[in-house]
Symmetry: C2
Subunit: 344 residues, 2 copies
């Protein structure tokens, strides 16, 4: 029987997760919950998603002529799992409701780790979420870091120490209120940034320090990664590990990939919905290996990198699929399987 999934919060992450869930053969998207009767609500209805809203928002929706299926409580009565994609901090408040209705819930990285039983990145620690009631998918930058480390380890390359220097996108494309414009901002003005601690909620045994700044770009974050490996390896070894690992794109200058905008343009050209790139973008020309030292530049599509993770989290919690079985099913449904990727 298909897993019954609801999505609460229909913004940048929620709308993508809803689309991804609706593409899974073993899941049913029961509906999406949101609070404002805006264009996103109309989009959801046009896609055939049932809309659930807080009881006190019902008049606003009916006033705007937007068809509502029922209240959020009614959604909760009809699902096995909720994916909560509400703004940071709201998930924690919602958790009481999920407990009351006895539904499992996936939270996002904006919440504190203690919102859930375990923090999650499919490649790194899928098994730890098996059977759990509350799981937190870590944030976009943390997912990127955990995925990169996991990819190397899956390839037999030990990672001892990570120093990550993060250039965050200032705003998502639609966030006209956010900056910076023409500035580089310490974000936060402290070392380490929260990302280091957050990576350790998924991969406990790594020595990691992170620093982050924000820049005037909306397309993607980039990370400069400086890793100490457990032993000397060749650049070819590293490339092999990254190339075989799902959810990692190797991009080379030979093919014209020298910037994040070029990768996003490619995603537009091949018809990807919303030009999403849920894969970690690894720029091959800036991959440098010497002895046990590795330097890399990676791009992170902040709007979509956590989408496949949310889907896998559902299967792990429900105990319906093993790690590689879920990852493959998710990637196939989202069109992320390419030649050379090894699942398991």
């Amino acid at each position: 029987m298909a897993l019954r999934v609801g999505v609460v919060g229909y913004g940048t992450i929620g709308k993508r997760v809803a689309d991804a869930v609706s593409r899974q053969p073993d899941m049913v998207l029961v509906g999406v919950a949101k609070t404002s009767p805006d264009y996103l609500a109309l989009e959801a209805l046009e896609k055939g998603y049932k809309l659930f809203v807080p009881r006190d928002s019902l008049p606003r929706f009916s006033g705007a002529g937007i068809k509502v299926e029922g209240s959020i409580e009614e959604l909760l009565q009809s699902v096995d799992v909720v994916i909560d994609a509400t703004p940071a901090g709201i998930g924690k408040r919602n958790r009481r409701l999920y407990e009351e209705y006895g539904v499992r819930a996936v939270f996002q990285g904006g919440e504190e780790p203690d919102v859930a039983d375990v923090s999650f990145c499919a490649l790194a620690n899928y098994e730890r979420a098996m059977g759990k009631r509350f799981v937190r998918v870590v944030s976009c930058n943390t997912t990127a870091l955990a995925r990169f480390i996991a990819a190397l380890r899956l390839g037999g390359i030990g990672v001892e120490r990570v120093r990550a220097f993060i250039v965050r996108r200032g705003a998502d494309p639609h966030e006209f209120r956010r900056g910076p414009i023409n500035d580089i901002v310490l974000n936060p003005p402290a070392v380490p940034s929260h990302h280091a601690k957050d990576v350790r909620t998924v991969i406990e045994d790594v020595d990691i320090v992170t620093i982050a700044v924000a820049a005037p770009v909306t397309l993607a974050h980039i990370h400069f990664l400086h890793l100490e490996l457990s032993k000397a390896v060749s650049r070819a070894d590293v490339l092999r590990s990254l190339k075989r690992c799902p959810r990692i794109l190797l991009l080379s200058s030979v093919k014209g990939f020298n910037s994040v905008a070029q990768v996003i343009e490619w995603a537009r050209d091949v018809g990807r919905l919303r030009n999403d790139v849920p894969e970690l973008m690894v720029f091959e020309n800036c991959l440098w290996v010497s002895g046990n030292e590795l330097v890399a530049v990676v791009g992170v599509h902040q709007e979509s990198i956590v989408v496949p993770e949310n889907v896998d989290a559902v299967r792990a919690m429900m105990g319906v699929a093993s790690k590689w079985s879920s990852i493959r099913r998710t990637d196939e449904s989202l069109g992320l399987v390419v030649e050379g990727k090894v699942y398991g």
Copy 2:
């Protein structure tokens, strides 16, 4: 007798160097040379600088009603040293002319190292330029790296290894043709970037790797620095070394400095000409030290950081001042001496 200095090339660097030279008590700015009869030529005249132009440009200047003192050859007959601030590659061509007229010359970092007898950063290797005929001031990012390493070493802190991750400003404020807008670009798409090799033209014994990207910002470059020191030190030791070193600004969040735009705004508020910040900007809140490991975020005002270096290069070549005597004189004349700085 005052040193007679000419500036050839009157763009971003040249105009600043001309202003700096004209403020030196032991130098006379004989004149500036440029090729286009534009608003910069008018600015130079308004400042009282004599204008020298290529012979075949004389009609264009007189046609534009701009008063010219003479040809570039005439300038060369009247100077001891030329500071060549022409676009990359032109300096090399000009060198033949300087040889012919028997004048010493300072070149910029856009030229290859072999344009000169020595590459130069005052804090790092002033003495090596003493008496030399041709000296090359390294580029803005290289100056920043060399200055940071030199500051630590002057404070008794050995630097073994440097990994520098550079976010370049996409364009200077007036360069409307350059990008990127809304992108992060591998610049260059290769590791190491030329900066690593260039630092070693000034500081030979450091193990250094650099990577650079370009971002949509005009105000400054920033560097993420990851250093391995020769022994474990405390954060306080590092701060002490940086605070006492000339041409380094320590900026803290307590005083509201969390971004490069805030530093530039401060420079505007205190009345600095063109809001120049020739000092290396070290963001104190992002300075992290653990054992022999150091992480830092620094800002580099690309338009002005090499200006004091050009002035010192002149004194070193002419053999008229020792290292600290020249650095102090330059800094005093440019208003860069602040409490706590130690010269020598």
